[in-house]
Symmetry: C2
Subunit: 349 residues, 2 copies
DNA sequence: CAATTAAGTGTGCTCGACAACATTTCTGCC
DNA sequence: GGCAGAAATGTTGTCGAGCACACTTAATTG
């Protein structure tokens, strides 16, 4: 398991040759005779040479700049934990010459996003981690980065396959299935349930649809006979959710479970008509208001997307790539954490 | 946020003094005039000097040896993921001179544990990460380590407070509460439920009791009127669990939910009498047999203790301590992951 | 007052990887 | 054979921290 650590000098000695030549072989920069090349290659393989990353990093002595673009946590608390994750990763890698800078944009429109992108590009960073909130704009930005050979990672949303860089997030379709399973566990067979797409100012439409699809897929795979209806709760109605819900349940009195596809599950707190007060609800995201709703019993389960970890990993992947030449994992799917009133505390920190 | 990085040479230049003196100030090894000391200290504070850990590590050029003691995964598959976690951490830190060696012991008695401890101590390691399966023996071992100034971390079980070293694990009492909540969510109020302590060859007694206590605490905090009974399923009976369960339910026909405090929940697969076939069950640990039981619907929820992560963190903490002089966190409680048939996949890997 | 000791300071080498630069060896050609 | 020029190889300095050793003052004593 643990072996002696060999240095380039060791190898040079073993091969009866100088370190310069060994280095040339390792880095494939030619000017080496076939004989020497083969000899060294054989030794390298034999001892399974692992270069000392510490020494390598010290020699390079380069500082890398890394920008993280994400929605302003002040406007949507969902993003607050990301900042913490970014800082944690930043602390970890600053010794290795990686400088991390977080930049916020206004998620309510594309204008701020575009402006921020431009600004970041002007800094000529070595790497960029960003949240691809707006599809077209993100695509354009990613392309520019690739052209400028800027390292790339996205989290909490993906770009189409084949795009360079890393994607860190959750399998949304599967998380819909998890929600389906949870409601099914709470309700049993042959009930009527509703998918609620509650107010998202910006284009979470794709997200929401993916989740709904997973949810429906789960129920379709069962022998049972559950009915699923979909209800959208647009922005203009969130001032009076109680009213909307009253209408909804008047129309669908037999709905016995709700799946809220966004982080707005807390809106149901105090907004469910008496006739349906204790009805099972599954929602998303550990934001403060949702936790309150968990504790008051309005929401039964939350699905945690771990934004902190997503941001942390995004920064870490690029940092390790810069500092240690590690290759960037193409895709990293995080666990779909199921949270209730008794275990949420450990996911906060 | 990101500042220029200063080196000792920079500071020496700024203070108009040599780097030797700066170094003496930083490491407090005296032989410095008051004047020089104050000048340098002021500069250090002013620029918030952070030593280059890479260079430091390179210079020290020491290799640290770290042993991990855990039960043999061949005898209990619960521990298998730990090996993976250990390897992951090992890979990560081998560049920094940390050599990790995993050693297995037979969990069925203290003899093997003691022998392994002795053997490990003989190797004079710099650090030890171990699973304190046997209380008295673990205590003695920990003391010896402290005396020999060996770095210490435990996972999946704790030693009494005040002991040096780190503890990584789960809040077992709270995990019992989580189980209670889950059964409550599935069953509703005023039911009769049972806590099953299913066969553990070795002293998991404390673990099981902690979990039961949490479980009962949860129900006691409710307004409802749930009855809880406890049933032990000893080793000799696991050959015929069906028989035991038949007797159990004959005696307690009104039990409508089960909480299995060990990883042996899968024993119920095919062992529940027809009268109670679909009864809700909450168990522990993502071992293969339990996952099968999850998928077949015998087990509804599993609580995941993330042994992989526990082992990974244990090794990481000590490694960071050796390689970067980071201080070891005293206690790290991992999330209590709730797992059902739809999300278990992400916790495996 | 020279000699000894202590206190404070500076210099230079090491760790391992790496690459620029210097040097040697080989090849072809007149 | 001699010589240019390419090809191969060797040497050395760098990155930043850290420490042993050498060195310079200042203080003390016979």
């Amino acid at each position: 398991m643990s072996k002696k650590k060999y240095t380039i000098a060791d190898i040079a000695y073993m091969a009866g040759i100088s370190k310069g030549t060994v280095d040339r072989v390792i880095h494939k920069r030619g000017k080496v005779s076939k004989k020497a090349y083969e000899k060294i290659t054989r030794i390298l393989k034999e001892i399974d040479y692992q270069p000392n990353l510490v020494a390598r990093n010290l020699k390079k002595n380069k500082t890398y700049t890394l920008y993280v673009l994400l929605p302003d946590p002040e406007q949507d608390p969902y993003w607050a934990p990301c900042v913490e994750g970014i800082n944690a990763a930043s602390r970890e890698f600053q010794s290795f010459g990686v400088m991390v800078e977080a930049v916020f944009f206004d998620p309510s429109g594309t204008k701020s996003f575009n402006a921020t992108c431009k600004q970041v590009l002007k800094q000529e960073p070595d790497g960029v981690v960003f949240v691809p909130l707006f599809y077209q704009e993100s695509l354009a930005f990613a392309e520019k980065c690739v052209k400028k050979k800027i390292g790339l990672a996205t989290f909490n949303g993906s770009l189409p396959e084949g795009q360079a860089g890393s994607f860190i997030g959750q399998d949304l379709h599967q998380s819909g299935r998890v929600a389906g399973k949870l409601l099914h566990q709470l309700l049993g067979d042959d009930k009527k349930v509703a998918v609620i797409h509650a107010d998202e100012a910006y284009q979470n439409a794709i997200h929401m649809q993916e989740k709904e699809k997973g949810f429906r897929d789960y129920y379709e795979g069962l022998k049972g006979n559950t009915t699923i209806i979909t209800q959208t709760l647009p922005h203009k109605d969130i001032k009076n959710v109680a009213q909307s819900m009253k209408h909804f349940f008047a129309e669908h009195p037999d709905v016995s479970g709700l799946f809220v596809t966004t982080s707005k599950g807390y809106l149901l707190d105090g907004a469910l008509p008496e006739t349906h007060a204790g009805i099972p609800v599954v929602g998303y995201d550990l934001i403060e208001k949702n936790i309150k709703a968990l504790e008051s019993g309005v929401i039964d389960f939350l699905i945690h997307q771990n934004p902190r970890q997503q941001a942390y990993l995004g920064v870490s992947y690029l940092s390790e790539y810069f500092a240690f030449d590690k290759k960037i994992p193409g895709k990293k799917l995080l666990p779909i954490d199921i949270v209730n009133s008794e275990n949420y505390i450990h996911y906060l920190e």
